[in-house]
């Protein structure tokens, strides 16, 4: 069964283009041009995947994710943006998006990304993988004094690093090939990417926090 998708973007031309590209590959059940309309639509349709523009008036994709909160528990968010800016990408990921792709992605790759997000995996564009490698470079920050936070969240394992490097090298939507090269299964590759996503969302590395704060994510 193909995923039920809601498309949120304030550019009508872009929505029409994406609908045409995804036609027959996934089931686009509706689109919305504003944050308010998107929230209402998602609550009604309860889609599997929301394709979400990062930059929209009234707060953009970030605001949609925040306002949906628990109202569409099954919906997974895949961020779409023309922007390559690290703060935008990191902010939507930390808000809960399962992946990030740029708007120049081909229709087939986009459909593939939607399917993967629908299945619960994470999707990283090459550039996002590069950002993550950059952000997690160097020694982890000193663990905070209070709380028993998982220190592993602040650094990548060598294997995760390898997987990300392959994604950054352009194997972004070809986990099978990454798996072959690393001598592991495609499922394991997916698990590594999901683990990186979790770290990206929960880590307190200050680069990530800084990017998030720049988008006023943390109050």
């Amino acid at each position: 069964m193909s995923a039920r998708v809601v498309l949120v973007d304030d550019h009508e031309l872009f929505r029409a283009g994406v609908r045409a590209e995804l036609d027959g590959l996934v089931d686009v059940v509706g689109d919305a041009a504003t944050v308010d309309a998107a929230v209402a639509l998602i609550c009604v349709e309860q889609p599997d995947v929301v394709l979400l523009d990062v930059h929209m008036p009234d707060g953009g994709g970030l605001e949609v994710i925040r306002r949906i909160a628990g109202d569409a528990p099954a919906a997974r968010f895949l961020a779409l943006s023309v922007s390559d800016a690290a703060e935008d990408v990191i902010a939507v990921i930390r808000a809960g998006a399962r992946g990030y792709v740029t708007k120049t992605i081909s229709g087939a790759d986009l459909a593939d990304a939607v399917r993967r997000v629908h299945e619960g995996d994470a999707v990283f564009s090459p550039r996002l993988a590069g950002f993550v490698l950059d952000a997690f470079a160097g020694a982890p920050p000193a663990p905070p004094t209070a709380g028993d936070r998982d220190a592993d969240l602040d650094q990548l394992t060598p294997r995760e690093r390898e997987v990300l490097q392959h994604i950054a090298r352009g194997y972004s939507y070809m986990y099978k090939e990454i798996a072959q090269r690393l001598g592991i299964s495609a499922k394991t590759v997916e698990a590594h990417v999901s683990a990186v996503l979790r770290k990206l969302q929960l880590s307190s590395r200050h680069e990530l926090s800084r990017w998030a704060v720049e988008r006023r994510m943390l109050g």
Partner: protein
């Protein structure tokens, strides 16, 4: 003075009852009050007020201060200097102080004469005293400067610490400034007192008063206009800046975006050309929006150089080249060779991979190595099947990397695209033979 601080605990240990010593580093003039206050353990301000008041009352405080200056050794002065080399410096210093002391003694004598009713005109006496004191202060300051190094040496000898000789500045700047300030004030005051006492100041005062009154009146009259003028000026400037910005944006859009759109309409039949034009315009606009300079003027760096190479290939071959860089490094000659090899790999990818998918360039720079991958999703080719006379891959990629102490590997499989891997070890990774 740090040398003072180093010497003080030692002295304290030697003499249970503290001697009277001036404390020039904390003093306003010569540190008499500060030194006295320290040994009496009271606030120096009280003593300063006492001295000031007694100076104003009868001039006695002034004379007493001068005497104290001469009689009290400074904190960093050894009472019996043992080091012969230091003696010249202390002598020079002593000469100045003796001079000042003699001056103050004269003042005291003058005061005494006056008390006895001997005829000295106030008109001359007080201005002279003030001028002498102020002049002495200023002179002392200018004489002190060359003597500094020697005094630091002496301080160091007392403290028994060699580091004290390294001190570049033996007196704190505020002390110096306040000393000069007081000197200047004294001289000016002397001039005023003289003028006042001779009656010359009265006329000058009238003129000055008139000038001040007129100035105040004018200020009251013109203040509103002036304020309004200032605000209107700043408003005008803001408007000018805004309109300049708008003109700049319009000019930029005209030169770049509108031109590109026109070109794209002309080339509508060639999707690759249109895509490349759009891509180039997008990149340029992004750079402009982010406020970054279009071309980095500084030293060449890996990420920027690869980006520039990618843009060039995009322009010439109507393909999309995505560059992802993790870390960055300055480029030496080997690094430049690496970029040149990467450019060649991009060129190959652009030529043979067609327009199936973007060419992916990934660069990673860390302390150990520079690592660049150039990958396309074209039909792929067998690297072993390249004829030896095709210099492209063999010479300009593999050969170039090897000549510069790096290595290149080409992985290609039919249907799976081609990936060129370039590695350059840093720190001793070949000297570019």
């Amino acid at each position: 003075m740090i040398s003072d601080m180093a010497a003080t605990p030692q002295q304290r240990a030697l003499t249970p009852l503290r001697e009277l010593r001036r404390d020039p580093s904390n003093g306003m003039v010569a540190g008499v009050c500060a030194g006295l206050a320290k040994s009496l353990q009271i606030d120096p301000l009280l003593l300063r007020i006492a001295f000031g008041a007694s100076t104003l009352a009868s001039g006695v405080g002034f004379a007493v201060y001068g005497l104290a200056w001469i009689l009290m050794p400074a904190e960093d002065e050894d009472v019996a200097p043992a080091v012969a080399a230091a003696r010249t410096a202390s002598q020079r210093r002593a000469a100045v102080e003796v001079g000042a002391g003699v001056g103050f003694l004269l003042v005291a004598l003058l005061l005494a004469f006056r008390e006895l009713g001997l005829p000295f005109s106030d008109v001359l006496t007080w201005p002279l005293v003030l001028v002498a004191a102020g002049g002495a202060l200023i002179w002392r300051q200018s004489i002190d400067v060359p003597g500094r190094g020697a005094r630091a040496v002496r301080g160091g000898a007392i403290a028994g610490s060699a580091t004290a000789t390294d001190l570049p500045d033996s007196e704190s700047r505020p002390a110096v400034i306040s000393r000069i300030g007081i000197g200047v004030t004294l001289v000016v005051a002397a001039a005023l007192v003289f003028l006042q006492l001779t009656g010359a100041l009265a006329a000058a005062t009238d003129v000055a008063l008139v000038a001040v009154v007129v100035a105040v009146a004018l200020a009251v009259i013109f203040a509103p206009w002036f304020v309004r003028l200032l605000t209107s000026l700043s408003i005008e400037r803001a408007q000018r800046i805004r309109s300049q910005e708008r003109a700049e944006v319009a000019a930029h859009l005209h030169d770049s975006v509108l031109q590109t759109l026109a070109l794209m309409q002309k080339r509508a039949d060639d999707p690759r050309a249109v895509a490349a034009l759009a891509r180039r315009q997008e990149r340029e606009l992004r750079t402009w929006l982010s406020g970054a300079p279009a071309r980095d003027e500084g030293e060449p760096r890996l990420a920027a150089a690869l980006q520039a190479a990618a843009e060039e290939i995009e322009r010439e071959h109507s393909v999309v080249v995505d560059v992802v860089a993790v870390g960055d490094a300055p480029l030496d000659r080997d690094g430049e060779a690496l970029v040149a090899a990467a450019r060649e790999a991009m060129l190959n990818a652009a030529k043979f991979a067609g327009d199936s998918a973007p060419v992916a360039v990934y660069a990673e720079a860390n302390h150990e190595r520079l690592h660049v991958f150039v990958r396309d999703r074209g039909p792929g080719f067998d690297p072993d099947a390249i004829p030896a006379d095709r210099r492209g891959v063999r010479e300009s990629i593999v050969g170039r990397m090897e000549r510069h102490g790096g290595r290149a590997a080409i992985q290609a499989s039919p249907g799976g695209g081609t990936e060129v891997e370039l590695v350059l070890e840093r720190d001793g990774g070949g000297d570019g033979a």
